[in-house]
Amino acid sequence: MSTLSEPQSDSYAKLQRDAEREGKSLFKLSQRRLRFWKMSWVYLVLGGAALLLALPFYYMLVTAFKSTEELASFSVSLWIQHPSLEPLRQLLEGTIYLRSIGNSLLISGAITVGNLLFCPLAGYAFSKHRFPGRDKIFFILLSTMMIPGAVLMVPNFLLARDFGWINTYFPLIIPSFGSVFFVFLSRQFISKIPNDLIQAARVDGCSEVRLFFQIVLPCCRPLLASIGILSFLGAWNSFIGPMIYLLDESMYTTPLVISMLQGRFSNLENVQMAGSLLSILPALVLFFVFQKQIVNSFASSGLKE
């Protein structure tokens, strides 16, 4: 559309050319506009949905920094006049919030490490080793994914009680190691590693243990990223389990402490929101650090070059 590069001579012909081009570009523009207007409904709907999703987060963010006076003076307000760190101070001084973060980190970390180790191991066995009943066992495992967690709550509790595990972290950590979903994910991923690669390592003189850690695992980076992120976030957010098994307040995880805030600071919405805000920070950090891997791992993660 730009005529800047045209030599400034031969004016008549140029004028005509310009006119032609103008006509064409007008036509193009109108077409593009038409497309935009047709698409605008889609943008509108998507934008609306995005707003709707973002709104609670925004509300949380704003409220967490409101002083108690400001909170009291308006009923619901989406704006903030005098940002204050008072709610945060109240939260950290009035509760065991920091400690709960430590507890949560400990539990989530243990579960994540366990899943990173055991699930690829199981997936490797299910996809690359032949043993009697392999596929049947795998099918049974898969079918347990259909059982709702609530059904198992009571039996699990009774079992933990018999083990003497009540008010410890064991019932939260140990059973999480065998996540069927992650085993399934691992099996699918590892089955894409060429058999030849594994056989080449065997011929090269690899023991089975070394083969797993030095050849198979390094090929599984995208898998490990998904398992790591998903299992950490799952453990970090889990609420029911800690609520059932943990009795001492000093052992509480962050979600438990947040739920407690509703009772202890019942009118102080700003403190409650500060608690929520802090609790999502690890997830955000995780996301920004592993952004690429997360996207990769959810898109099909190809091993073949």
Binding site: L197, Q199, V203
Partner: protein
């Protein structure tokens, strides 16, 4: 360096379904043996059993005179090159080659020396720091070969190592591998489905079909004296022409006769076989290079067949003529052709390019070599 001995080796993945059945094979020290056959005939299975990657269902496997049936792969002193290279994707070229040596606790200096030596032989010295994904197909193949030679194994195993390369590179690597064998003088077992590769590379060739060994022989022996129709059709390019018919006695001896097809007087060497065959059906085999070729025209007594040219494929140094006689369609490979499609030719047939197989068993009929 070692001998290899297979005695009645079998592999059953399921009862009654043999992937490999009763294979007997003696491989001499330093020999280059090629396993060839169509896809799915059990070549890889057999090779994997030799490597120790697949359990042996039946039979005895000996390496250097020692039974190794139950020895795991890592203790068999073999190295293997795979079809898709199977390089460790997260290791540099150097580490890929050094890995097996490190596992065997070879001293660092020796590892380095062996890797550099192999890299020199294969001209991949400038690639040592790269990752496999940064290499072309041909380079990856060299690295895979390098990974095998640094190990200095008793036996090299190759499973279709060239089939992922383009045609030109394949020919080049073929020569290089053969050269490598002549230099190293190690025992090598090479699997391929490509008869050209088999013919050009092997000291001896094992032709397989459906898990059974059809024939074990040197390339020329296979080409000249295939033991059955399958081997005859598999070895040679373009493949042998086959005609089904019967043998009839004439005043001059015997003649092959096909209904609405070709009729060909047989040379003397086939008379005894023809007599024994009687009225039973036979299959006549004619190599394309034995029909109408220069050599055949030199033989004044050569029997002739009338053929109509359908399609001409000029190959540069020769022509493939797709011709018909009656209802029989076949291919002739000639050095000179100046006609055009539609022409009728009278083509002499070279007598030692004539083969006869039993119609039912498809086994080769026995021939009297020394007769004309």
């Amino acid at each position: 360096m070692a001998t290899l001995s297979l005695q009645k080796i079998s592999k059953y993945y399921a009862p009654n379904a043999a992937a490999v059945k009763d294979v007997d094979l003696e491989v001499k020290d330093g020999e280059f043996v090629v396993l060839v056959g169509p896809s799915g005939c059990g070549k890889s299975t057999l090779l994997n059993m030799i490597a120790g990657l697949e359990e042996i269902t039946g039979g005895t496997l000996e390496i250097a005179g020692r039974e190794v049936n139950d020895l795991p792969a890592k203790n068999r002193d073999i190295a293997m090159v795979f079809q898709n290279y199977a390089l460790y994707p997260h290791m540099s070229v150097y580490d890929n080659m050094a890995f097996g040596l490190k596992l065997r606790h070879v001293p660092k200096e020796e590892i380095d020396q062996r890797v550099q030596e192999a890299a020199r032989v294969l001209s991949i010295g400038h690639l040592l720091e790269r990752l496999p994904r940064e290499l072309s197909g041909g380079q990856r193949q060299r690295v895979a070969v390098g990974r095998a030679i640094v190990r200095k194994p008793a036996i090299f195993l190759f499973d279709e190592p060239l089939s992922n390369l383009d045609a030109k590179l394949r020919v080049q690597m073929r020569v290089e591998l053969k050269d490598l064998h002549q230099r190293l003088r190690s025992t090598m077992i090479y699997v391929t489905h490509d008869q050209t590769e088999a013919m050009t590379m092997g000291d001896r060739i094992v032709v397989m079909k459906d898990g059974l060994v059809q024939q074990v022989a040197s390339p020329l022996e296979l080409y000249d004296h295939p033991c059955n129709r399958f081997v005859a059709s598999f070895i040679g390019s373009p493949p042998m022409n086959f005609f089904e018919g019967t043998l009839v006695k004439t005043d001059k001896g015997y003649s092959f006769h096909q209904e609405q097809g070709i009729t060909l007087p047989l040379p003397k060497r086939w008379f005894r076989a023809a007599e024994a065959q009687g009225q039973r059906k036979v299959i006549l085999g004619l190599r394309p290079e034995g029909i109408g070729s220069l050599l055949a025209t030199l033989d004044t007594e050569a029997p002739k067949i009338e053929a109509q040219v359908k399609v001409v494929e000029p190959m540069g140094s020769e022509f493939y003529l797709h011709v018909t006689t009656g209802k029989a369609a076949y291919v002739a490979r000639v050095e000179k052709f100046q006609g055009k499609p539609g022409d009728t030719l009278s083509m002499p047939v070279l007598r030692d390019k004539i083969y006869l197989f039993d119609g039912a068993s498809e086994l080769a009929l026995s021939v009297d070599q020394d007769l004309p």
